[in-house]
């Protein structure tokens, strides 16, 4: 195969042995790479009901078909896939940077880590040589320090490293995997799975060529993308970056503030992208092979957090800022740095602090629980102190490190009313109380609370639809983007580049074929997107998730937006949610319980997985449907 390396590496961490097996072309075309191929490999390499934190749960690393080429953004991706310890369903997180390209050059489309090492190790993949290396001296180190130490000891500055931090080591369920120092595969606890295996890091050096099927036309295509990337489709990412969203969301009453108590933030100006870029952004850098350059590196120039340095994006800025009522950018940058330092998913971590603050404001947590910390909304020092405690699992931090769903169960006293998650995964920075198209996408997303599985907030925010209304057929708009987004995450393109594929599936099919030589039509690629969405759903169904897991965060359904803004009074009722789910399932061709039908599976080439849905469809329908 061309583009693809044609090989899957299997590493048994229990025994230290490894072997390779071929990636069949049929499998490659059907699942593309990235999360598509990753979820399929997860499903095929795990038993139903597998415990996420067990030796039997594999951690799958997957590159994309164009990883290692100079396809802008396509050239540098990596996906981590496993059963999530947060959701007990499909777990996946992607990252860019440089790590993925080296893994491809080492000659692998995917690596499946099985078993569990007895003691801390890192895996050193040096082209065909795969070794387990002692990592006792790295235990406790941050991902960045781990990267430096591994490069030093292997004696090659160009070795690429993906590592976990202390939070992962202590099995926090919201642990991230960090590669290339500033890039995080944050969501769904992939760092926790890696840590459970005693796998501190993966170091890789690839020296092999990556080629494409049609070099001349591929290069022309890349040139065209370079030109498009200099244009309006990416202006946002190249200038203010995603923090631009702060003021936009604020003006539309869609900026979740103080754990979804409000939808506007009086301190928005002070944490805006505009202010951030003026005061804190020191340099904008780029990933391997990308022509866009979006990575805003912020540095605190003075004050108590002087020297704090981090890559800034809207989501962590939101979760650690407005979501906690914090309006000090220096503290927010320090907080983001701490998340990277401890290896915490900054989204889930910010959610956990905001949740604890909400509990504190409502008397559910007191100073006795917080070791004397005043956890009032807006207390920047409390945010920093609590993150340290989460990273080290001390005091209240020990509970919050489990994620908001489990933390609420442990705290009790009605704390679940303040735990904003879907399927156990914490919320992201869109106030879906007044974004009712996005709300559909959030509820049904196979990895839990997420804007990146559907991007339907765009339709709401741009006014393409009436965002305060639910209506029949609206789900079709969500599905259209979902099917595109699973392809983007399987090719592992950066979503910041999505606007440069003017003809969407047509452009992407051409891109894929030029690189791999595998012919695929735009329609086939769309169906592939649908197939991968169904696949994510099927894994969840196999693991016991049902319609009732397609829920929305507690406060989205309990607290109408109180602010004097355009979205005032908006929230989502159970009746509306039921309507959304009925509509979505019907548009997807699923049963009323949200189970893909046998006919649907045949249509999209997943007949071999019909065994997962058969018992759900044939069993008595009556008691189950009544519940919903």
């Amino acid at each position: 195969m061309i583009g693809y390396a044609g090989r899957i590496l299997r590493v048994d961490l229990s025994t230290g042995s490894s072997k390779t097996e071929p990636l069949r072309e049929e499998m490659a075309k059907k699942y593309i790479g990235g999360i598509g191929l990753g979820i399929r490999l997860l499903l095929d390499n795990s038993k139903p009901g597998v415990e996420p934190l067990s030796a039997e749960n594999p951690l799958v690393l997957v590159t994309g078909p164009m990883t290692g080429t100079m396809g802008p953004t396509a050239g540098n991706g990596i996906a981590f896939v496993s059963k999530s310890p947060l959701t007990n369903g499909t777990g996946e997180a992607k990252s860019h940077g440089f790590f993925g390209a080296d893994l491809k050059r080492a000659g692998y489309d995917a690596v499946i880590f099985e078993g569990k090492s007895e003691k801390p190790v890192y895996v050193w993949i040096d082209d065909d040589s795969v070794q387990l290396m002692d990592a006792k001296h790295l235990w406790g180190k941050s991902p960045m320090d781990t990267e430096d130490a591994i490069r030093d000891e292997l004696g090659d500055y160009y070795v690429r490293v993906a590592a976990i931090g202390e939070a992962g080591e202590k099995l926090s369920k919201i642990a991230a995997i960090i590669n290339d120092k500033t890039r995080a595969a944050g969501r769904t606890g992939m760092g926790t799975v890696m840590a459970f295996k005693n796998l501190k890091a993966v170091a890789v050096r690839g020296t092999k060529d990556v080629t494409v099927a049609n070099p001349e036309e591929f290069l022309e295509f890349v040139k065209m993308l370079h030109e498009r990337m200099k244009g309006p489709a990416t202006t946002k990412y190249r200038t203010l970056g995603t923090p631009l969203n702060i003021l936009v969301h604020n003006s539309l009453g869609a900026l979740p503030t103080r754990n979804f108590t409000n939808a506007t933030f009086e301190g928005a100006e002070k944490v805006s992208g505009e202010y951030l870029n003026e005061r804190f952004v020191a340099k904008i850098i780029g990933c391997s092979s990308c022509a866009m350059r979006c990575e805003h590196i912020a540095l605190v120039p003075e004050g108590p957090y002087k020297g704090a340095l981090t890559r800034v994006e809207y989501e962590p800025l939101w979760s650690l800022g407005p979501h906690c009522g914090v309006d000090r950018l220096d503290a927010i940058i320090e907080a983001m740095h701490l998340c990277n330092y401890y290896g915490l998913d900054s989204l889930s971590a910010g959610n956990a602090v905001g949740f604890a603050m909400d509990c504190y404001e409502h008397g559910i947590l007191t100073k006795k629980d917080t070791d004397g910390i005043d956890l009032s909304f807006g207390n920047a020092e409390a945010l920093i102190d609590t993150l340290h405690k989460m990273g080290k699992r001390e005091g209240l931090g020990n509970i919050l490190a489990e994620g908001v769903k489990r933390a609420a169960e442990k705290i009790g006293k009605g704390a679940e009313k303040y735990a904003n998650h879907i399927k156990g995964l914490e919320m992201t920075g869109y106030d879906i109380r007044g974004l009712k198209t996005a709300a559909i996408g959030y509820a049904v997303s196979f990895r839990g609370a997420d804007h990146n599985r559907h991007g339907a907030y765009g339709l709401d925010l741009k006014g393409t639809v009436d965002r305060f209304k639910v209506e029949k057929g609206r789900s079709n708009l969500v599905i259209e983007i979902e099917d595109l987004y699973t392809i983007i995450d399987s090719l592992i393109l950066c979503k910041f580049s999505r606007g440069t594929y003017y003809e969407t599936f047509e452009d992407l099919a051409r891109y894929y074929t030029l690189a791999t030589g595998i012919t695929i039509t735009p329609e086939e690629l769309r169906i592939t997107g649908e197939r991968i969405n169904n696949l994510g759903r099927l894994f969840n169904i196999r693991e016991g998730l049902t319609r009732k897991d397609d829920h929305l965060p507690a406060k989205v359904m309990s607290t109408p937006i109180p602010d004097d803004t355009v979205s005032k009074g908006s929230y989502i009722t159970q009746k509306e949610l039921d309507f959304m789910l009925d509509d979505y399932y019907s548009c997807r061709g699923w049963t009323i319980e949200g189970v893909p039908t046998i006919e649907k599976l045949k249509e999209i080439g997943l007949n071999d997985l019909a065994y997962i849905v058969k018992p759900k469809i044939e069993k008595p329908k009556k008691p189950e449907t009544k519940k919903s």
């Binding site: 100079m70 020296t207 022509a291």
Partner: protein, 165 residues
């Protein structure tokens, strides 16, 4: 005395370079029809997220790499200044690599002889493709001009504001 020929080389602007490595990919593709940074004649160094720079051959006067070769495998083109490698003579001993202050001449991972920037016959692909326009095909004199203009602009920041565009 005839003026020495003006030698142009590829230089990266530290203010503009973002470390994206597009130059490495296009170089290896142009020269070897493969994407592989190890086969690129220009290499990116990221010391820190804030410190990025591409480095390639500077076409030194009296190049130390040429002087260091015990087998006389290297010579400098009198016209362009490019280092020409006799692949028959080179045995990959690495003396030239040690002699170069910039790490610009390196050992090819497959042929095991050294290789270095040849300026793509006067039209360097890396310069053409750099998305940040961070690479210049330039001369020492032009670099000095650029530096002088930058420093004067900085010194006269206030005055520059009043100058009509």
């Amino acid at each position: 005395m005839a003026a020495a020929p003006v030698r142009k080389f590829v230089s990266a602007d530290p203010e503009k370079c973002v470390g994206c490595a597009v130059c490495e990919y296009i170089c290896s593709f142009e020269k070897e029809k493969a994407f592989n940074p190890l086969k690129s004649r220009i290499r990116v160094v990221r010391l820190h997220p804030l410190i990025n720079l591409s480095v390639t051959c500077r076409l030194c006067e009296d190049p130390p790499c040429v002087a260091a070769c015990p087998r006389d495998a290297l010579e400098q083109s009198g016209e362009t200044g490019v280092i020409i490698i006799d692949e028959e003579k080179c045995n990959g001993c690495g003396w030239c690599i040690e002699a170069c202050d910039y790490g610009a001449i390196t050992l090819h991972p497959e042929s095991r002889v050294v290789f270095v920037c040849d300026l793509c016959d006067g039209e360097p692909k890396c310069v053409e493709w750099c998305p940040e326009e961070a690479l210049d095909f330039t001369t020492p004199d032009l670099l000095a001009q650029k530096a002088r203009r930058a420093v004067v602009k900085k010194l006269f920041q206030e005055a520059m504001k009043t100058v009509p565009a």
